[in-house]
Amino acid sequence: MDFLQLIQSNLLTPIILFFLFGIIAARIKSDLKIPEAISEFLPIYLLAAIGLHGGIEMRNTGFENMVIPMFVAIALSLLFTLNHYQILRRLGKFNLFDSYALASTYGAVGAVTFSVGLSFLKNQGVSSEGYLAAILAILEPVSFILAIFLTNMAVSKQIRAKKQSFTNDDTSDLDMGIQETKTKLSQVLHESVTGKAIVILLGSIIIGYIIGEEGFSSIKIVFDEMFTGAIVIFMIEMGIIAGQRLDDIKKVGIFLTAFAIIMPTFNGIIGVLVATGLGLSLGGTVMFGLLLASASFIAAPAVLRHAIPQAKPSLYITSALGITFPYNIIVLLPIMFAVASLVHTEGSIDLFNYITKDWS
């Protein structure tokens, strides 16, 4: 099969190999680690590079045609978040807080995954739409905001219910609860939108758009040519952190483990098909799928720990980083590429026919 070969060739890239290496280093309890300052700096650098690249592309190709993909991506992200919640709460029997936290972790996007995807495409000699970087930035908070809104709604409802059963002599507590919810939401909104990931990404997109290829030339060596090398260094640290968490996977349980693999696959393939339907290029299709498939493990804790402190971070970080991230970059990325290639060669017009034919 074509994509087994693809998986294999993807497996043997420096990015994936150094990630696996990091996992092994952690498993044998090596003291290897990338100093904190470097591993804090690298995501900022990667996002700046992604943003600049995206902005320059958008300047070349215009951004009118990004509007529909963007709204579709937002809609899918919201739908998927709700879907995750139902599955986790009903089938997985997780409590309200963990369910919403996990639902949004998987509804959100992962910037590191996105970087790896871009590098994967580069390796395949395929390019993608620049505006996807902008969609990455916009998708970041969407899913969190929904989940936090719903969690707070649920909590106020519970408080209200309790109040009423105690005869409503004092509604001030209730008001306070709702008030707190609002405060929290506006705080989270502010925190999300001013979060370093979004800020550097949007900033770099705009700067890339302004400076164009020409203005970029003087910093191209740092922000373009060094990109893959920088990811490699970051992947060592990601591997180490993932490796340190492997023991926790047992605590995550079989249900969440399955969820962490099946859900991204489902979301990703849907993403690929929809993007193909929207007329994105082969590379763009893959990246669109990857956006929807990816889970957030850097931004998530920072936002969720404040917004839903009752949820257990060990659940959402471990599953997103320890299971979904490796699965996405090693297995799902080539699968989506294969699927995207398939539906792209068939021609996008016959696409939906093709799928139904093939699946029937």
């Binding site: 680690k33 904190e36 804090e40 180490i240 952190i241 340190q244 968490r245 850097i298 804790p301 920072a302 720990r305 404040h306 402190p309 009752q310």
Partner: protein, 100 residues
């Protein structure tokens, strides 16, 4: 140089709870504090290995005894359940009580 007795409250907690602590301090009109990142181990396991978000922070606050009770009460009420957090109080002597 007479030293006046005041209290030193030390909170060791996960770094994402720092904001909450400082908000509580502000609520009680305490603006002075010192913070620094630390590693540690406790009920919630080893902290400080991976992402910066998983480090601990120590927050140290010199304050008059009057305020201590309320601050400690609010921290324990709002944060003990959900955050990795250890808190202790010690006696210290300072020169300029008007600062605290």
């Amino acid at each position: 140089m007479k030293l006046y007795n005041v209290k030193l409250l030390t909170v060791t907690c996960e770094i994402l709870a720092q904001k909450n602590i400082i908000e509580i301090l502000n609520k009680h009109e305490i603006t002075g504090y010192t913070t620094y990142e630390v590693d540690g181990n406790g009920e919630r396991g080893l902290r400080g290995q991976g992402f910066k978000n998983e480090k601990n922070v120590k927050v140290e606050v010199i304050m008059r005894e009057e305020k201590l009770q309320n601050v400690v009460e609010e921290i324990s009420r709002t944060l003990f359940a959900n955050f990795a957090l250890v808190l202790y109080v010690s006696d210290v002597g300072v020169l300029r009580t008007e600062k605290f």
